[in-house]
Each structure stands twice: as structure tokens, then as C-alpha cells.
Amino acid sequence: MKFRFSGTLMRFVEFEREQEFAAATIREAIDGLVAKHPQLQNVLFTASGSLRQTHRLFLNGDQLGNDELARAVGEQDVVEVLTAIAGG
């Protein structure tokens, strides 16, 4: 599956808008993503591992809840990672 990034998150993924991972679930893909870009762990997730309120995940356009990360994904699936708002 692919992750797609924009804006403030781009600098944490080396400015590659799309990141592709072979994974059976979203959680597995996130683990691969964070292993490749460790700074993302603290940016996206709280100490207890929940997605921060300031960010959103969308699977093929549908927003995902924290309890949906075990969902199975395939090669064609796209998870968009968005920052709801940033403080400046």
C-alpha cells in the first residue's frame, strides 16, 4: 500500500510525497513507515501509540479511527496522512 503526505509532514519523509510498503494491515505499514522515518513516531503518535488529534488518516478517502489500524490493505490502497491544522 501507499502512504501519501503533504505540507508540514513532507520534511519528515525526505520530501517524497508517496511512500510504498508491502504490508498486510495498516498498522504493519505504519510500523514500516516509522522504522524508515523514526521522527514520524513522535509527530504522528502520542506516547501511548494513539494517532494525535492534530493528524488524520484517510484510507482511499475515508477517515480512519484509531481502532481501525488493524484493517487489511492491499497493493492498490492509499492512506493519506493529513495535518488538520498547524500552529504558526
Partner: protein, 278 residues
Amino acid sequence: MARTVSFDQPNDTCMFTPLQLQPVHAFRIGMSTWARWLSAYLASFPTLVRDHELGAVVIGAHVTWLTPCSFFDSDGVRTEGRVTIVNRGALFREDFRVFAVGGTADGQAILDGIGIMRPLHVGREAGLGATPIPVPPAVLGKLERDEIDDAAVAPRPVTDALKRVDGTAPLAEGEVKSFCSRALSEVADQWSFVEVPSFASHGREALVLAAGKGASELRRGLRAPLRSVNVEYRKPVFAFDEVIVRTRAYSQDGELWFLHAVHTTRDPEPRALILERF
């Protein structure tokens, strides 16, 4: 008594169009006024964000030119501004006025500006992710009594203008594509609020130039100075987003209005609505 800040700036050529103080520069002055007021009476902007986890997102910015003043009419400008809390503790509002200093326009008020800011709790993570909050009690406690106006409501002139032209046929309409580069962005890699009028300029200029020689009324949007620019920010555009500006021109009460909706290519909701009046 509401506390003010005041600062001077010598004119340079980049601050002006041939007709007036640049809209983007007027917005920059507004942002600087806000930062100076914070620094004088609360804490510096970096301290607020870093140590107090308090930021602010601009949700409205409004500039009205009061008198014609070109680059050659003064030697510099002086800005005076103040900040109040409006919408029952939900929003910051800044009001600023820019005066000519020196030259033939010395002492004249050039423009009035308003900024409307929503407070944010900014997380300590490096991405500066944030969530909206009311004005924190610790901030309210540092304000003077007349700096809190529970009866005041932030203006929404673009929303009002959209209602007024609803059902009216535009003189012209068009669309331009643009890009939110980092040069147009701020510290959190989202668009810099002060640069947003440049997207409106792009949309208007493209529309007028495409209209050709038959559109004398539309060309007022290039030959005349702006009377006002109003921006209502809905959602941020992030650095590296592709931007679409959809523009409609209207003849309204003897004025020429350009209404712009700024979108990204990622979703249909407008990120900002802008009204330019000539």
C-alpha cells in the same frame, strides 16, 4: 485602557505597486503588529508557542485603503495597533492603522486593517500540529478590562458579499492554477497568511487580461487602486500543494468586485474566500 504598539518603517520600492501600498505588504504590517503586541504585553511569539504551547491561526484579514498614497508621497509609514478579545473569549482581534510619515502625505491615515485570530494549543511535537482552543484564562488574566469585548463579533465581509451577489450574473469568471511554494509558506509549512492576497491578484489579473479590449469595466481591476481586500481563511493550504483560484467579477453598487475561492487539487472545499473591491 487598550494598550497599543507603534512602529515606523522607511519606504522601499518593494512595499508598493504603482498605485498604493501592496496588499501583501499591508498584511505583513498586520502580522508584525500582532507579533509586536504579543511581545510587548504577553510574550514573544516563539516563547508563546514553545513555552506556553499557544499559537494562533489567522481566520480573517481585512484591509481598507483610506486615502491614495504612493511610494513618492511619503518617506515612510507608521503603524499603530491594538488587540482585543472578541466573540465571547473565542478570538483575538487586532486593529491597526497605517499613517504616512514625511513627504506630501505626512500624517495622513493610509489604511485600516483588522486581523482575526483563533487561539490554538500547539503540541510539542516537531510538526507543530495544533488544535483550536478558547483564549486561555492565563492570557485573559493579563489583559486590561477594555481589551475584552464580549459583545463584539468578528466581521465576515466575504461571506456577506457572497450573499449579496447570490443569483447575480458575474461580469466574467475564470480559473488559474498556482502552487504554494515554501517561499509563500510559514514556519509550519502551511501558507503564510500574509501571502494569500497574491493568489487573488493572480486570479484577477489573469481574468482581466484574458477578457481583452472589450472589457473596459473589468480593466478597472488593473488601473485603479484597491479600495479593500478581505480574506476569510477556512483551512490551511500546505507547502507544495497545487492551488486553483476561481475568480468571479461583479459590478456591485458602482464598484467592481472580484470574489475568489482558493482551492487545492486535493478536495473541493475552498481553503480561503477573498473579496477585492475597486
